[in-house]
Assembly symmetry: C2
Homo-oligomer: 517 residues x 2
């Protein structure tokens, strides 16, 4: 068989059976091979950033890599921003980047570029397959590399002639290294810190944000002086009624400093020491209070859940996890604002929902309003590269077809990868997209003040406004086959959200809200 | 003054007075400085690929760089594909990439990445400004580097604290190196080749595609045995009635081989030796006929127009340029197809129009139908990275506000950077976008056959279709404030195109055409 078929059969054998695709000429044999290997599902995306973001969402929900099929250097370039987010999320993800035939590269044809340089930017593992006979083994290694804890991006560069030449044979899946157990002395140190009686924050992140980790952490928090917080932008949080709750560290450094205040000990459990998202003149980059002792209980790739359970057994052997009480906001009346929209979402969020959250400033009230909703998953913007929310929702819906997916999306961010809506329509995905439409890059209006920039005219402020003309998201959605409406009051929003959640297939609601502040 | 103001004042002094912008927090002082330096025009783009493509279109039309303001590594990543096209076009272009404050980088905040690695991918020059006191001199050097023949991308990485700190002073513009004169012996060799009597192709490219170069080449073509062709995807061609015409080498290698057939000598005048766009099994990569002697008259950065004039003086001293006759197709009736749409465009193309051509397969008939239209400029997809056409049209319209701009755009390619329409609406640009809507990646349907890929089911073909659901470009345009219509017959298309060209401001026409083949 040819290299492409050997590659795809190998991927299927490794559990990689979904390929978010934006192919070109150099990938045509890969595409043709999808007919020969029906176990691999090809999902067409109209832009590479949708493909990579969808693979990120898929990987977050399944723990297994999806493939993203990209066309040469520019195709990889278009996919990089969401690969950056996936890298920060430690999502297992396999980027397959088609390249010119090996013998064609030296001719420097128009699409030629240094793909390897781009791959190095965000990959945990990358390789250029040299021969059809090698590509299957390369693919098996790539799949294992993507799955290696804590999870990462494996990039396989696939020359066209390696795809089309005969001589390929599928390769078996390789074993994947397990998470590393945390040594007893490290667990003992954390327990000693907790027993010291000094105020102690346990900062959770990564796999600790799932039920087992949260349950163990919740027990630890029963120890005197112990408090839980989590990283600001986790890849995936399990939360809601019955799940132990944890507050996320705030995006705004001044609020995060307040959350950390008083801590004398900081125990990192799958999270990194907190830093300011951006630098601000005169403000520190580190958010660790001065004089606080930092202990790493579990770093990336470590068995953070096992470590938390061990620590809990030492410091709170009899404590029980503290589940979140079921509580929902009442459905509000009146104006639609970020706050009332959050209440509507909290009131209606279905059990088992997956929320892809790129609401940015409009999302300020969401964590509070949804904390006691039925159990659900929450996926956040891990790397700060906007344009993640709609693609991640798309991939999550492919991964979990029986679950309701809700994308909560800022208007400016939505425009980066808006064509994800078309893929949702084509695949019939049960995704409800809420666009918080405030007509501005509201976060930048706020940041302009926070960095101390002085504006003296209108040119600067004009660059932060999404107005003249207003964007009409209902029209944009209709243009891509997604039924849509616009809500201007809390009541309209509730009615539309209820209907969208009840009907199968994708929907979009443009929630017209004022900018904050 | 702070670094940002010194930077912008320096750029203005270097003739860089337009900045296509998609800023973030780290660029807020740059944005604020736009109020202090009103000579710099900031143009908001909703996606970085629009900003970089617009800067490409601007640079092609003015010969001067525009700036593209990008946010950190992911912002640069989103702009890379159109920077790849700009690199292939030798467009002078200045990418300003904001970065974290110098002292903040080591904290590896979520948006941290290796910006320098990305900048190296497509830049002719790149530098990271280290201090506010240096940034103006760096900017002057960047502007000069972008302008250095043949033109290229200069990337200035701008840490936030270099922007916001005091101590900047504007720097004077630097002299820009002129094009390199072509030595007399090289001119003599080309003349000797032409006098040899052997069949000779002069392959034009780069600056040779403007009137002076075309005029000189046209005189040379009067020499016995001499023929003109041009590179397949020039950055900018001047053409139409009164301008000497030249056929472009075909995209499809088999057609290009036929065009080159019989040539025993090949003289490269601003073009590179022709190569196949992609590799195909069993087909050669080089399109130079076996046994053909290749002479380089002028390479990138050489004075190709001067060289052509010198050669013309030697081999055809008395010949006159052969201008294209004015001729237009009749307005067709009946079905709307790629062919009849081209005839409509040829019949109605206004004098002085600028055409941004990313029509792909639907554009097959455009060169013939527009050859004798009133003089106009034609901008092509230089690097093969789709999503160029709408941004390039946007930038060209900013550069040449008195001229009519027409974007001829394939449906699949349009979706990459569709938000360019919003910038056109906001800036009131006189751009008429024609979407050739054939519901497929038609070029891939063709390429699937040409690379010899065997399909045995429907999965592969399904990945090449833009259907289920159909895209509604009129709705998409309306969503971004651009008046739009849909044409299904040649008559409807002519009426809508005539109206769009007559009215100021942006318009979009969805021309529903069948896929070719």
């Amino acid at each position: 068989m040819n290299g492409a078929q050997a590659l795809i059969r190998t991927l299927v054998g490794c559990g990689v059976n979904t390929c978010f695709s934006n192919p070109g000429t150099s990938e045509m044999h890969f595409v043709a091979a999808l007919d020969a290997v029906p176990e691999m599902r090809g999902v067409l995306c109209l832009f590479e950033g949708v493909a990579t973001g969808a693979a990120d969402g898929y990987g977050r929900m399944t723990g297994r890599p999806a493939a993203a099929l990209l066309h040469l250097g520019p195709g990889l370039a278009n996919g990089l921003a969401n690969l950056h987010n996936a890298r920060r999320a430690h999502t297992p993800l396999l980027a397959v980047v088609g390249d010119h035939a090996t013998y064609h590269k030296r001719f420097d044809a128009p699409l030629e570029s240094d793909i390897d340089a781009l791959a190095g930017w965000m990959s945990a593992w990358s390789r250029r397959s040299a021969r059809s006979a090698d590509v299957a083994a390369d693919a098996a290694e790539a799949a294992a590399a993507a799955m290696t804890p804590p999870g990462g991006i494996a990039t396989l560069i696939l020359p066209a002639d390696v795809s089309w030449s005969e001589g390929g044979e599928p390769a078996p899946a390789l074993p994947v290294r397990a998470v590393a157990p945390v040594p007893q002395d490290v667990i003992g140190s954390a327990a000693a810190a907790l027993r010291s009686g000094e105020p102690c924050v346990i900062l959770l992140g990564g796999p600790a944000m799932r039920r087992p980790g949260l349950a163990a952490a919740s027990r630890i928090a029963c120890a005197p002086g112990a408090r839980l917080l989590s990283e600001t932008f986790p890849a995936r949080i399990e939360r809601g009624a019955g799940v132990p709750a944890v507050d996320r560290l705030a995006y705004l450094a001044e609020f995060a400093v307040a959350q950390m205040a008083g801590a004398r000990r900081l125990i990192l459990a799958g999270a990194r020491a907190p830093v300011s998202f951006f630098a601000y003149p005169g403000q520190p980059s580190s958010l660790v209070p001065a004089g606080t002792q930092v202990d790493v209980l579990a770093a990336d790739g470590d068995d953070v859940c096992g470590a938390l359970e061990s620590v809990a057994g030492l410091v709170a052997p009899d404590a029980k996890p503290q589940p979140q009480e079921p509580v929902r906001p009442a459905l509000p009346d009146g104006d639609l604002t970020g706050e009332s929209a959050a209440a509507v979402i909290g009131a209606l969020l279905p059990e088992g929902a997956i929320v892809s959250d790129e609401a940015n400033t409009s999302g300020l009230w969401l964590p509070g309003a949804t904390a006691g909703a039925p159990p659900h998953d929450w996926l956040t913007l891990t790397g700060g590269a906007i344009g993640q929310g709609l693609p991640v929702a798309t991939g999550a819906a492919i991964a979990c077809p029986e679950r309701s997916v809700i994308a909560l999306e800022a208007d400016g961010s939505a425009m980066y990868t808006i064509s994800a809506l078309w893929t949702q329509a084509r695949e019939g995905l049960d995704v409800t997209t809420v666009i918080f439409s405030n007509g501005s890059y509201a976060i930048l209006g706020m940041e302009l003040e926070r960095v101390g920039a002085q504006t003296t005219g209108t040119a600067a402020r004009d660059l932060l406004q999404l107005s003249r003309p207003d964007l009409d998201f209902a029209a944009l959605a209709a243009g891509m086959g997604v039924p849509a409406g616009r809500a201007r009051t809390a009541g309209e929003f509730a009615a539309q959200l209820r209907r969208a959640l009840a009907e199968p297939g994708p929907h979009l609601i443009e929630a017209v809200v004022p900018p904050i502040g």
